[in-house]
Symmetry: C2
Subunit: 207 residues, 2 copies
Amino acid sequence: MPGTKIAESIRREHVIAAAYEIAATEGLRAVTIRDVAARAGMSTGLVLFHFKSKDQLVLELVDWVLATTTALQVGRDILAIASPLERLVALLAQEMARLSSEPARMRLFFEFWAAGLSDAGIRRRMQPELDRYREAFRPIAEAVLAAEPDRFPHTTPDGLAAVAVTFIKGCAVQSMIDPDLDINQFLAAAEGLLRRPPSMSAPVSIT
Amino acid sequence: MPGTKIAESIRREHVIAAAYEIAATEGLRAVTIRDVAARAGMSTGLVLFHFKSKDQLVLELVDWVLATTTALQVGRDILAIASPLERLVALLAQEMARLSSEPARMRLFFEFWAAGLSDAGIRRRMQPELDRYREAFRPIAEAVLAAEPDRFPHTTPDGLAAVAVTFIKGCAVQSMIDPDLDINQFLAAAEGLLRRPPSMSAPVSIT
DNA sequence: GCCTATATTGAACGCATGTGCAATACGCGA
DNA sequence: TCGCGTATTGCACATGCGTTCAATATAGGC
């Protein structure tokens, strides 16, 4: 006995949300049509009516996770920092704090990452987003290199941007398995490594 | 019609090797009793005779992968470096080169990592190994802090060791999906960040 | 108020998987 | 040579999965 009709866009949102909740808490392996349908409060057939197949559902879940994970926001407070290197450090601090504050989301992100290695469809969705994220670091990386050319004799802006992103990824990976990771302690060490030794500026504050 | 008997230890090695080959190339999801048995050249029943269950097989595969992945070798050439910070940089370079040279192994490692978040059995096997790996960085981290106390005012040896390991993990994660990653370019940027600005030493060479 | 397109249901099918098990072959000590 | 414990086989079973589909309820145009 079919129930009341609901707008397609709302149904799709409910399904994606249900799939995300299951994937983020129990892993991708636990995402089944039946469980997703049950959590979304509908029948299994309806899920496959709105999403043609399970693969399609997973791919749209990838898009949904990426849209809320790999968007780099460079706020005015960061742009206002005069020293390029300090600006980069501040941006690193922001991203590490942001990504490590949602271990469940990062955990799913990396599960997709691993899945993308053997699943061409997932890989095709993730690669452009990741490239865009790294590219967002390029302007600041260029400024850092221009400010201190002697310090980076063999470094390209792309290389420095890649290093920054790698550092963020490492932090996110670590925080997945260690939710109590002390980000401040972490940043203090990173800051010491990055900053010029004779510096006496105050530690970066995380908002 | 059963075949010739073979020593149990050899059988177990064959099974683990077959499981590793499948997992490293097609992902953990592709590891099934049947496929592992086929690749190892035996029947499905025999696999479950030597390993009581599939979970048991996977757990032993975890051990096998960890044994050849998270062992930190600090050679004499690195110990001979006078400057603690240069020693740390050299060790980072060695580990990044080592781990990124085997993307298939790292890929499986991180798949276990993700699996450990929802599978307590896998987590219990990995956690001690990872702690040991990080602990291996502690002596060098202590030396770095002792050599330049002004540079790291709020940093503990554990914190610095965690940062070093995180950087390595980030590099390994990156190289998984991007096998053509230019490690040298990567290291040049990292070196510029880590080293004291007026330095004029030669780039670190990777063996 | 009917009628058609669409949404929705739940059962059914086919397939792959983990596991159990009875039958059988092997190697070794007596 | 015989017998016994162990290794080995391949099939059968139950389960869970993705997917299909006929039946049915809903909403909106006429």
